[in-house]
Every structure is written in structure tokens, then in C-alpha cells.
Point group: C2
Chain length 420, copies 2
Amino acid sequence: MPKNAFYAQSGGVTAVINATAAGVIETARMHPDRIGKVLAGRNGIIGALSEDLIDTSRESAESIAALKHTPSGAFGSCRYKLKGLDENRAEYERLIEVFRAHDIGYFFYNGGGDSSDTAFKVSQLGETLGYPVIAVGIPKTVDNDLPITDNCPGFGSVAKYVAVSIREASFDVASMALTSTKVFILEVMGRHAGWIAAAGGLAADREGGPPQVILFPEIAFDEAAFIEKVRASVEKDGYCSVVVSEGVRDGEGRFLSEVGASDAFGHAQLGGVAPVIANLVKERLGYKYHWAVADYLQRAARHIASQTDLDQACALGRAAVEIALAGRNGVMPVLVRTSDEPYAWEVGEASLSEVANVEKKVPREYITDDGFGITEACRRYLAPLIRGEAYPPYRDGLPDYVVLDNHPVPKKLGTRFAPR
Amino acid sequence: MPKNAFYAQSGGVTAVINATAAGVIETARMHPDRIGKVLAGRNGIIGALSEDLIDTSRESAESIAALKHTPSGAFGSCRYKLKGLDENRAEYERLIEVFRAHDIGYFFYNGGGDSSDTAFKVSQLGETLGYPVIAVGIPKTVDNDLPITDNCPGFGSVAKYVAVSIREASFDVASMALTSTKVFILEVMGRHAGWIAAAGGLAADREGGPPQVILFPEIAFDEAAFIEKVRASVEKDGYCSVVVSEGVRDGEGRFLSEVGASDAFGHAQLGGVAPVIANLVKERLGYKYHWAVADYLQRAARHIASQTDLDQACALGRAAVEIALAGRNGVMPVLVRTSDEPYAWEVGEASLSEVANVEKKVPREYITDDGFGITEACRRYLAPLIRGEAYPPYRDGLPDYVVLDNHPVPKKLGTRFAPR
């Protein structure tokens, strides 16, 4: 009997993580002699720990294919990082107990940096605890902060959403600026890395075009320089569009969203750096402002997903299964860019130990000297990632997303395990 | 020589107001024997008062057609309400001075309730000040708050954006709720009328589906009932999606965004009711929350515009010119629904005096008894308005929106006029 495979989604979900799931499941189904069933963890790794497994073999080929156009995590995801083996041996022993009970020989873990760390530890279970399993990580993060891989599935679609949205809002503000809003501020995700904010810069189709200002977490917020930049933009263009990363910090490393923009105007906000920036603009410049916070809309926006992103998400799911079938353990398929223009990429491999817990920030040479824009090198890197519109099907004017049946696998263990 | 026409965009712009402009200009061009040039007001009516006119005849047919897929106001819009003739006779005399100098015999004013009032006053200039002009209003408002017309161009596209966005975010939250966010709050426009918030209800494809809670400006905020509803949703579904109108008020008629949700948790916010609601959820229920404020993104979102909305916006622009050519003054073309299912509509006419300054709110029978959802009658009304996806063309992954050349018409008057 071939071994079963375990697949789980981890951390924040994206517009295309389900496409990766489809890639994994469809490819596994092509090898019934090598892989039994794909059992998914309900709510990620917690499903493994609590023996709450989903039998994906009971889903039709149509439902699995529909995952390619459905955002979010179809099996549920979670924020739960396994500690080191020394610190929490019980969790690993429990994993083995569940894997053994369900004859699991392949472990596919679809997530970001923390998840690579977990997948790496699982890849060592043969050595450390005597239960050999082939563990393959599959990259996913809207933040695009994983090392080695040229980019991460999930990012291209957020990037497209942000670039499209700030272009549209900038058109709006430009047409109303004479008597109405002069400064528009869009807050985007990216607590530590500014890739998503940088993507807003793609909306500028000319030197100095909107967004005139981007605020990166990589650049300490300089209030005076920011105010001067906004003033100059309003004087030149009549308005100013700003994309601000949620992770922008002051010179002392404190999040602006927590400390307010300055002592004089610093109200602690209920989350959100956009209103802090807006208030600063109002107080210092007196301009009428509006602000938006995209929050989950940006990472769930499958309706405007990037075709490049979708293709890569699927490809990495497929590659993960092929890697596992080739018997390579402790590996992650990654994206390798072979050409900028025309854009070309292929799937390569990285060791999970190299990916785990390393954060890739926006390099300084991707940010203009004044700290408020992206350079041509950055644009060259980002541009292909948002290309192509991968529209979902619609029914009655709304995207026709699939909800799987998610049949539970009957439990075989009498034991319970409460995740922390 | 045929008379020229004046066209202006007024108030907040939309995803499809430029499609109305295209309808006006293309139809006028088909009647060169009757209409000379279409001169657009730069920044709306201010362009007329300051003799800052745009010669649309210098734009190619391709550019004018491209307006149909370009959001915002291509000629600029403004928030500027003409006072009554008695209060500000100078403004009307100035309008006539400019109209006469540029041989303007037709006045097309594309806006909401205030604009209908202005268009109505202009329609009376023949009687009141001896300069006859045929004035036709053309409805536009994302708020959908105009009377008589079944719905307003601009609304259907915002409605689609909101319904799509809350569906996507709800999928996201549902998949993460076990260990992460349990309550998601999306703030949408609608200061006085809850049509946009109501549209969020279209995302629910089953009884009780997300969004589980809608907060309307028409229903005084009942904190206890709201908290109970959220708690029940989280207990039943594991999470709760909330769509809140910016215009929600407390029992005393005060905007929640200004007073905070209650004295206990009331921080004056820098705009935004979503964070107020979020804080209330946190304080009363302790659930992890996230919130988004769509702001201008929603009304500029041409990338997800409704085909129904686009068709209607174009049709009303065309109809306005036909009405003018038929010599009917003081009129507005409106949308008349002739059937819910299959949805059918035609263009009718209303007198501007009936439209001006009347606000159409969401009727009580469109809101469920508990005040937190939409009824089947409301769904029947809203559903057809978001149907069809009118995608814009893309270039390099971004919508290819047009920016017109906007050639100024040489000034003929030596006089200047400073709008208030």
C-alpha cells in the first residue's frame, strides 16, 4: 500500500494558496501507485496534532480544480509554531503518533518562514525520533519575505491589488483635488518588509506619477522630510497619493501606528497607521485628507489575482509532490528567475534549513535616495509579478468560490491532544 | 451655426461617470447639425464660472471611447453648490456671460441631488434672466440616494465592489478564525443612506451567511443587540463579518465615528467608524479583530465595475442628449425597472424639480426585523445591479485608463470670476 500524504496550510492565507493545494492534490492523484490519499490538516498543523484530518479524496476533480480560483485556506489555516524538539518533544511525538496511525509518509507544509522551520524539523523526524517522513515545504506569503526564492506565491496578487487600487484612487483624488481631498493615504500590509508597499509604486506610469510617496518599514520615518514631500507634490500636481506600510517605524524603531506620528499629534490609535499619517498631514499642512486601510481585502482579493502568481502557486504545489516522489527530504521548491524581460522563471530547490527564519527585506537599492519611491531596479523586479488577470468565474455578479465538503477522516486514536 | 453644449461632472466621482460623459459626447458628435462642440467644465461648474472650458472636440474617438473604462472624473469635478438666484445672482449672471461668449445652448450636469438643484435653476435661466438654455441633469451618485430613478449610475459598481470584497474577506476570516481574527469589520460609504452597506448583504449566498451583520445609517446603533449578534455569530460560525456604513449613528443621532461607540470606550477617532466598532468588540467580547476602510477604493474600483452599471451610465448620457435635442428642458433621464427577473430596464424622464434635494434612504422593509441584515425584497432590488463584469483593458498588469489631453478653449472674456 502506498503511503498517504499530509498537506496543511499555515499562517496568513492568500488569494492563491488554494491553487497550491490544487497543485499538490492533482499531482498526487496522478500517482496512485506511489501516494495513497492526501489528508489535509483541518486548521493547519493543529489538525495533525488533534487528529482532525480531512479526506481530500472525497472531493471531486471539479472541486479541487475550483480551488485554483478560490482565495483563503480551504482546509483552514492557523498561526501555531512548533517549538524545538528539545522544548516540546510531546508535540513531535504526537505528530508521529498521528502520522503512524494514518500511514502518512509525506508531509507538505504550505507557509512562510515559521512554517519552513516546522517543515525542517519534521524532515528530521526519521533521525531524531525514528519515524521517517519526507517533508517538503511549499512557499506562501503575501509579504514576499522568504529568502532564496525569487518571490513568494501570494505576493504577486497582493501587489497587483495594491497597484491597481492606488492607481484608481489616485485618478479619483486627482479629479476632485481642487475643492476636495488633496492627500490620500492607503495603508497596506507588511509589518517588517515593505514589498507590498513597494508594489504600489508600479502604479506610477511616469516619473513622479502617483503614488508620489511610499513609506517603507525599511526606512525610519522622517516627519519633516515626509511633510515637505507631500507639500511639494500638492503644489506640483494638486494632490498627493501615499502608500504606507503598516510596519512604518519612527527613528527609535517604534511602530507609528502605536506611538502616533509625534508627541504633539500622537494619539494611540486602535490599530492603523493611515489615520496617524492623515492626522499629521492635517495638523502640519491643513490639507483635506482621506485614508483607506485595505487589511484583509488585499490578501483575499482573488478577483484581481495575478496570472503570474497563480501559475507559480500551482507550479510549486505540483513541484512539491514531484520532489517528494523523487525521495528528496527537507527541501522546498522555489522560484528561480531566469530573465527579467521577457520574464521567465523555473522551479528550483532550496534546503528548508536555509529558508527557515530568514527574512528578506526590500534592499536599499530598490528604494529611491529620498526614501519615498521605488527605483528602476525595483520596478524591473516587481513588474512581471503582477502581469496577467486570472479572473475567477462569476455567478449572479459575484465570484463563484468553492467551499469544500471537508469530510473528516475517522479517528483511529483513542488519545486526545490539546494544542497549546 | 448650431449651439455648443456644456457638460460638467459634479460632486464625488464614480467608476462609471466617465462612461456617461462618453455617452454624451459620442451622441452629440452624431448630430453635428444640431450640436456644435461639447465644452466640458474643468473641475465641474467652477470651470463654467471661471471660463475654464475644455474642448472635447479635440479628443479622438478612441480617447472618448476609453472613458467608458476609466474611473474618476476625466474633466475634474468639484463640490460646489450654486445658491439660489436671490442669494447669489452674480453667479447666474456669470454663467450666462460665459454661456453667451461660447455660444452654449445646452447644459448637461452630471451629478447627485445638489446638482439636480443646480441644473433645475439653470433650466429656468430663460425665464429668470432671459438667457434660454436647455438644461438636462444626468444622475450619478455612489450613494444611490436619488428619488424617482430606480437606481443611480455609480452605485452598482460600488455595490459590486463591496459585495465581492466582503465575500473574499469572509472566506479569509473563516479559514483563520480558530487561532486568529474572529471578527472582521469593513467600513463602507453612505453618510445618510445605507444602500452601499446593504449591498454587502448580497455576498451572503445562504441564510445567515457572511456578512452576518450589517450596520445601516437608517437604524440607530443598539450596542447591546450588536454585541449579542456578534457573539451569536462567532459561537455558531466561528467568526463574524460586519459591514458598517460610515454614517451609523447612536440613539441620539450622533455619528459613531465621532463620539465613539459608548462613553466607556469612546475615543474620538480621526475619521473612521470601523475602528470604533472594532474596539467595542474587543472590550466587550475580547475577540481578536481586524478592520478595513475601503474609502475611495470602493468608488474608484473600475476594475470590478458592474456591467449593468456601465450600460446604464452610458445609456443615460446618450438619453440626455436625445432629450435635449427633443427640446425638453429641466428634465433628467432616469432608470425605470420593468422587471426584476429577468431584470429589465428602460430610460424614462423626471422633472429636475422633483429630483432636487430629495434623499432616498433604504426603506425599513428592505432591512430585516433585527436591523442587521437585508430582506429578500432588498436582495431582489439589488441583485441585478451588480451583474456582469465590465473589465477594463490591461497593460503590464495594470488597468489602462485614459488621461485626456483636456485642451483649454481660448478665453473670450476679459473678466475674471473667483468662485466662492
